[in-house]
């Protein structure tokens, strides 16, 4: 369990430093089963910070989401650091961003939060209904205790926990400057059973599934924007010259978009599942990423986001790489 007082004290300590510009963490949401990501700029605000199983979002996304205006002539750019609270899965995003040299390691202060799983709001809403009040959730043994509209409710952890946590192999942050709680023990492993199950279908069955899913897409690009690895300044799908993907929403362009999105995460996806969580039309986007994760692991024995010293997968090669289908 994370002691919120300790978390806030550490955050305060960091925010009081002169060389820190902002701290990204979680605060209580305004309603429902999810917290709200929050960017603090002043030590006086640290009481807003929380950590509990509602903290599903990946704060690492918000490091690269910040748009910097051009610095006016005669002024110095603000080089102060960004502090960020991360769970184990979120920390992999930072590792991968560092692997890709998205920013300097010195530019960020990572406060690691060992995590024992977060709640999937969709599962919780199905079980306990919608609520216009924020729900507090605490973990007691293998149960979650929720306060929904003032009433205490209980549910087995396994039924509410997010899918990503069911196969979490990195509950403890992989990169950090300080931990705000003691490390926890790993409780799960990833056998890629979901990938195998899907891959067992015929091409017709697969396409029938994706045709239905992709045609739902409204191209709001939230899956792209929330992704901590999608930090290009100009995205290929919105590029006009040349225009690879058209803005029209039809099955052709939507499919092309989703293939491109998944492809650009090949060997980079760190499985925080944010893309799938944010989708307003419930497209199981991670099914594509999971397939690539598995293939990358099998073919190239590579796992993104675990080793800061690693080279990006597609920026390196091994002469012995598999080439079974090449004529």
């Amino acid at each position: 369990m994370v002691d919120e007082k300790n978390l806030r004290d550490k955050a305060k300590e960091v925010l009081e430093r002169d060389d820190v510009r902002r701290l990204i963490g979680w605060a209580r949401g305004t309603y429902g089963y999810e917290s709200a990501p929050v960017v603090l700029k002043d030590a006086s605000e640290v009481d807003k910070l929380i950590f509990d199983p509602t903290c599903v979002q990946n704060p690492a996304s918000f490091i690269t989401l910040e748009e910097k205006k051009p610095v006016p002539r005669g002024q110095e750019p603000d080089t102060r650091k960004v502090a960020v609270l991360v769970k184990g899965c979120d920390s992999r995003a930072i590792v991968q961003q560092l692997v890709e040299k998205a920013y300097d390691r010195e530019g960020v202060i990572v406060l690691g939060v060992p995590c024992t799983g977060v709640v999937d709001r969709r599962k919780a809403a199905k079980m306990f209904g919608d609520t216009s009040e924020p729900v507090e959730i605490s973990e007691e043994g293998d149960k979650y205790v929720l306060t929904v509209n003032g009433e205490k409710k209980e549910a087995p952890k396994a039924e509410l926990v997010a899918d990503k946590c069911l196969r979490c192999r990195y509950p403890n942050p992989l990169v950090y400057d300080m931990l705000v709680a003691d490390e926890v023990e790993k409780w799960a492993d990833d056998e890629f059973a979901d990938v195998d199950e899907f891959a067992g279908q015929t091409p017709e069955e697969k396409w029938k599934f994706w045709e239905e899913q992709f045609s739902k897409c409204i191209r709001c690009y939230s899956c792209r924007n929330v992704c901590p690895m999608c930090y290009c300044v100009e995205c290929v799908v919105t590029k006009q010259k040349p225009q690879w993907t058209r803005r029209a929403t039809d099955i052709s362009e939507n499919t092309a978009y989703h293939i491109q999105r998944a492809w650009h995460l090949a060997g980079r996806c760190i499985e925080c599942m944010e893309c799938q969580r944010v989708c307003p039309v419930d497209i199981p986007i991670m099914t594509l990423n999971r397939k690539l994760t598995r293939d990358v692991k099998e073919m190239f024995e590579y796992e993104p986001g675990v080793d800061v010293e690693a080279e990006p997968l597609l920026a390196c090669y091994n002469p012995q790489d598999p080439e079974e289908y090449i004529m």
Binding site: R22, G29, T30, Y31, G32, E34, S35, A36, P37, V38, V39, Q57, S61, F62, L65, E66, E67, K69, R122, D130, T131, S132, E133, E212, K216, I218, R219, C220, Y221, S222, R224, N225, V226, T238, R246, R247, A248, T249, D250, E274, R277, V278, P280, V281, D282
Partner: protein
């Protein structure tokens, strides 16, 4: 206008009787509801809080051809929808119908938009009163309500085994006749009244928007926007799923020698929305874009058209993945001191 009813288990027959109309009703793909043409009337169900994607897409489709052409030729074929092809939206929620009346004003303003207007003319709106409002509904604060009649041609109430239909316009009356409905009695009307009161009581969230339209312009430089924009993803969920958001992009597409000019949904939350060719962007960061979204809905639109471009459907709150809560922002707007420190 008239009061009618039909038995719930006769719904397929009632919809099937609408031979002269294309009937559109909510259809689920997985957990996601959208209005789609009814293929099998037996599949229509009225058991839902509201559709994920608002029915604005029926008047203003995600992608819509404006006209077609062929390379090297100078004739242009407009693709204006046929106003005589009648459609009936079965089960539209009162908030979404109210949204049409707001967007109507924009599309009727000076250069009337034939694409939107033709579709709108051809469509009959059969509303469905809410008995179980969702957690983030606040329609009564925006001039609507769970059984608001604004913009509707008929309003249905689910009263036990029966659906009570109250027709509100000639268009609605005509459709009700085509459905072959029987007359409703006192009992259904009373039940409907009771249901409306009950539903109203279930709506928890409220907004007092008085003063907001006048105050917003003075908060142009205010730091409060950053409190929300710092966690904004710059995605299009809030605007694409908003029943009153109406912005679009126009692009040309070529397929061999055939071409079309089409318009598609666009959103002020994307940075490329306002990006000039020169690279200059008048709204370069999420702060300006968030401010523009709220200001447009709550200040610029009412300034031009005398009505706030929001109906309180709660979709932008429900689907925002980072909990940017419209009501939260507006509470901050009300609290903000105009003199508060400007941004550095």
């Amino acid at each position: 206008m008239g009061d009618f009813k039909f038995a719930k288990d006769k719904m397929a027959e009632v919809i099937g009787a609408l031979k002269d109309y294309q009937v559109l009703a909510p259809k689920a793909v997985g957990d996601v509801l959208r209005f789609q043409p009814v293929e099998d009337p037996a599949q229509v169900s009225l058991d839902y809080p509201n559709t994920n994607v608002p029915p604005k897409e029926l008047m203003f489709p995600e992608t819509e051809t404006l006209f077609k052409y062929r390379v090297g030729q100078t004739d242009i074929e407009p693709e204006v929808p046929d106003a005589s092809a009648r459609r009936l939206i079965f089960g539209i929620r009162p908030c979404d119908a109210l949204a049409y009346t707001i967007v109507d004003k924009l599309y009727a303003w000076d250069f009337p938009d034939p694409y939107y207007q033709k579709r709108r003319e051809a469509t009959v709106l059969f509303g469905f009163a809410c008995s179980e409002p969702a957690a983030n509904c606040f329609c009564p604060s925006m001039g609507g309500g769970p059984a608001s009649e604004k913009g509707l041609d008929a309003l249905m109430f689910d009263v036990g085994d029966t659906i009570y239909v109250k027709t509100l316009t000639d268009k609605g009356e005509e459709a009700a006749k085509a459905m072959g409905l029987e007359a409703a009695g006192e009992a259904q009307m009373k039940a409907a009244d009771a249901q409306e009161k009950e539903a109203l009581a279930k709506i928890k969230r409220t907004l007092d928007h008085s003063g907001i339209p006048e105050k917003l312009p003075s908060l142009y430089d205010h730091t409060m926007w950053e409190r929300f924009s710092d966690r904004c993803l710059s995605c299009g969920i809030c605007t694409f799923l908003c029943p009153t958001c109406h912005c679009f992009d126009i692009q040309d597409e070529m397929e061999g020698f055939d071409g079309r000019r089409a318009r598609m949904w666009d959103t002020c939350m994307f940075s490329e929305y306002t990006l000039h060719t020169s690279g200059h962007n008048p709204r370069p960061t999420r702060k300006e874009r968030t401010r523009n979204r709220i200001s447009h809905k709550y200040s610029y639109f009412p300034e031009k058209f005398d009505v706030i471009a929001c109906v309180g459907c709660g979709r932008c709150i429900n689907y925002c993945p980072v909990n940017i809560d419209l009501l939260d922002i507006l509470e901050d707007v009300k609290k903000a001191e105009v003199k508060e420190a400007k941004t550095a």
